[in-house]
């Protein structure tokens, strides 16, 4: 039902320059959330999904990038979608729950009854209104979006067990070594404001433990894993895991597609033909494009060029008879005549797709295979299986 009092606020976690390093070299020039995915900055997709939520009061982007990196985008998208979007900068990373807690006063300003939390690098159908309805029915403090994946890939994510009837979250574990479940956490959540109390509880527990650590020198020797500061609270491990099985958290399953964009390889795996910005006004019968090619505005593709399964970003020039297969070609780069930029196309391997950073020049007839090239390099000799700094 949702009366006019039941306002909703959405928070999208965007991270910062020290996070998402797996997205390099593309993230050396642009924050990962602003990297174009299917013709729009990555974060555009969760933002426009939020717009479908009834009674949405505000969207907050929370991260620790510099404000100026998001200033332009945020005002543009607010105007375009007619929904208030604001970027909130953390002074330092607080973890996914810590970040939410850090801005609780601002978030609660609109007195929302429900708060959505989304990760900016999730690509899915975002069934947010349906998820909200389910959440209200369950009456818990939070509901997670979950999806079934293959048994082999499940261990890369947070695996969880849910009651098949009540949909209650019974058990949660992050990246387990042994099989727990093929149901995983999508990185989309909806909470009631009670979540802040839960985070505060955990945060003070962590503080106490940190104080103890300082006293015990034996603890100090146990530096097997990195010790977080006490105000670094992770949503999954620190909040969800302990609350599982206590009738507080529930799940909503989606059967549509779901992908998480951690590496450029993930982007290549989800590319679509970007019809809106495709301008092949000068195409001749000789140009062969596709399948699975995304070309940005202002890219120039010369005659006789062949592109397969690749992403060509803004202002790129692919000269005559150039070949690009399983690659991402960065902004302003240039692919020379008869040169070849290719990879095997193993989207999850380290050098599985070839990535050229911003303004990379591949000279005529040069071959680049299974490599990553950082921005502003000129390749005048062929390379294979290399990272070029």
């Amino acid at each position: 039902m949702g009366g006019s009092e039941e306002r909703v606020v959405a928070v999208i976690m965007v991270g910062g320059p020290t996070k998402g390093t797996r997205f390099r070299p593309l993230s050396l020039n642009i924050p990962k959330p602003l990297f174009p995915l299917a013709g729009q900055p990555m974060v555009h997709h969760p933002i426009s999904a939020c717009k479908r939520i009834p009674n949405l009061a505000q969207i907050y982007l929370v991260g620790f990038y510099e404000e100026r990196e998001f200033a332009l985008y945020v005002s543009a998208i607010s105007n375009e979608l007619r929904v208030p979007v604001r970027y909130l900068r953390e002074d330092k990373p607080h973890g996914s729950a810590g970040g939410l807690y850090n801005f609780r006063d601002l978030i609660m300003e609109d007195n929302p009854a429900h708060i959505f939390l989304l990760n900016c690098d999730v690509c899915c159908s975002f069934p947010l209104p349906e998820m909200l309805e389910a959440h209200k029915r369950y009456g818990g403090i939070g509901t997670l979006l979950v999806i079934k994946v293959s048994v082999e890939s499940a261990s890369q994510f947070g695996e969880l067990v849910a009651d098949p009837v009540t949909k209650e979250l019974l058990h949660y574990t992050e990246k387990p070594e042994t099989f727990v479940s093929d149901l995983i956490n999508c990185g989309v959540y909806v909470f009631t404001p009670e979540i802040f109390t839960a985070i505060q509880g955990v945060s003070s527990q962590l503080k106490d433990r940190a104080n103890l650590r300082r006293v015990s020198s034996f603890e100090a020797l146990q530096s097997a894993t990195r010790s977080f500061p006490s105000d670094f609270v992770r949503l999954d491990q620190d909040i969800l895991s302990p609350l599982a099985g206590k009738k507080q958290l529930y799940t909503y399953e989606t059967r549509d597609f779901w992908e998480q964009i951690k590496t450029p390889g993930n982007v290549a795996g989800t590319i679509v033909l970007s019809d809106s910005s495709l301008s092949l006004a000068n195409e001749t019968a000789m140009k062969q494009i596709g399948p699975n090619v995304s070309i940005s505005a202002n890219a120039r593709i010369g005659p006789g060029a062949r592109l397969i399964s690749c992403i060509i970003l803004d202002d790129v020039e692919v000269m005559e008879n150039g070949v690009v297969i399983n690659a991402i070609v960065g902004w302003k780069s240039s692919i020379g005549k008869w040169s070849r930029v290719q990879a095997e196309g193993a989207y999850n391997a380290k050098l599985g797709i070839t990535i050229l950073g911003e303004a990379v020049t591949v000279e005529d007839e040069v071959v680049v295979v299974n490599s990553i090239v950082l921005p502003h390099k000129t390749l005048n000799v062929s390379v294979q299986e290399e990272i070029i700094l």
């Binding site: 390093t21 530096s223 990195r226």
Partner: protein, 361 residues
């Protein structure tokens, strides 16, 4: 008197350090690279330095304001909108380099460190009365560079041979020039190479002279040469009996330690080490042939050799870091980790050992 420093572009060979700051601001022996040159120019009476840049001018300009005041020398930028090669920037900066005085001006390459015997170079230039003087330096493997073929007796330069296949001489262009303003008339405002297009013409007119650089010389534009360069630089400090070098029972060979850095008990530091401002070296640490940049913490019992540790990084307890490991800014090597030649980009945490040279993005 004026000078131009060719700063150029992206410094990709010094990545990952140059992913955080433009190359001229990368510290060498606890000082931004370009400051070594600016100080040498100031010492012989240069009043204005022009930096020819084509990348990140805002960062450079901020840095300059700070040093203009401190050093009492005028520093300006000449920004290329397209790369102009090694001679084009001189034409671009023409108005800043020539004045009524008709005095010659210096041109330095920002990647080079040496003793900068600029006073001797001025005397040399006056004595031969030619149009241009260049410094050359003797190297063991001339065919890696461009060789300057010259008459050793008169100093006349005959020609330049790029990466010669047979032995034609062992003197290479050291990247330090003293030029009369008339040289600018020979340079057009377009991408031009000073070695390939400008100098050969002056040499043909018998107006180009070369002076053999006394003392050390190094192009520190890449990590291996940076580390060798530090050794040469510290050696030259030793020869001058510099008080800047550290002393103490825990010091071996030539070591530079910033006064704001702290070193714990039981360490052995050196040879050829530079420790930057605000660094904390905990007890029992061994450092040799390495550079530790500003704000780095080296934890107890760690051992580092032949490496560069970037700003604000940490090296964990009992970690071993060696063989041309380059850590970018804010890299954290966990306790007990071994890095054999890891090249690590900024903002990374190293939780597992790097057994053979590898780039960590």
């Amino acid at each position: 008197m004026k000078a131009l420093i060719l700063v150029g572009g992206f410094g990709t060979r010094l990545r990952p350090l140059t992913l955080s700051v433009p190359k001229p601001l990368v510290d060498f022996a606890n000082k931004p690279m370009i400051l070594h040159q600016i100080e040498a120019l100031k010492a012989i009476g240069v009043t204005e330095v022009v930096l020819a840049i084509n990348y990140q001018p805002e960062v450079m300009l901020n840095f300059l304001k700070e040093f203009e005041a401190k050093l009492g020398i005028k520093i300006t930028c000449s920004q290329e909108t397209e790369p102009l090669g090694t001679a084009g920037p001189l034409a671009l900066a023409r108005d800043k380099l020539v004045d009524k005085s008709g005095e010659p001006f210096f041109v330095l390459n920002s990647d080079v460190i040496s003793e900068y015997p600029l006073k001797e170079m001025i005397a040399f230039h006056k004595s031969h009365g030619g149009e241009a003087s260049i410094m050359v330096t003797k190297v063991d493997e001339p065919s890696k560079y461009g060789v300057v073929v010259m008459d050793e007796a008169t100093g006349h330069v005959d020609k330049f041979v790029e990466k010669p296949k047979i032995f034609v001489g062992n003197k290479i262009n050291a990247g330090i020039y003293l030029l009369n303003p008339s040289v600018l008339d020979r340079i057009q405002l377009r991408p031009t190479s000073i070695e390939k297009e400008v100098f050969p013409k002056i040499a043909a007119d018998k107006k180009l002279f070369a002076m053999v650089l006394p003392g050390f010389w190094m192009d520190i534009g890449q990590p291996r040469d940076y580390i060798t360069g530090l050794r040469l630089y510290l050696e030259s400090l030793r020869k001058k009996s510099s008080t800047k070098l550290a002393t103490g029972s825990h010091i071996v060979g030539n070591v530079l330690v910033d006064e704001t850095a702290t070193i714990g008990e039981g360490c052995l530091i050196g040879p050829d080490v530079a420790i930057g401002p605000g660094c904390v070296v905990e007890a029992g640490v061994r450092l040799s042939r390495c550079t530790v940049m500003r704000g780095v913490r080296i934890k107890k019992h760690a051992c580092i050799s032949s490496s560069i540790i970037g700003w604000h990084s940490t090296v964990g307890q009992w970690a071993r870091v060696e063989n041309m490991t380059i850590l970018g800014e804010d890299v954290h090597v966990c306790d007990e980790i071994y890095s054999n030649g890891g090249v690590v980009l900024p903002h990374k945490e190293i939780k597992s050992s790097i057994l053979k040279p590898e780039i960590v993005m």
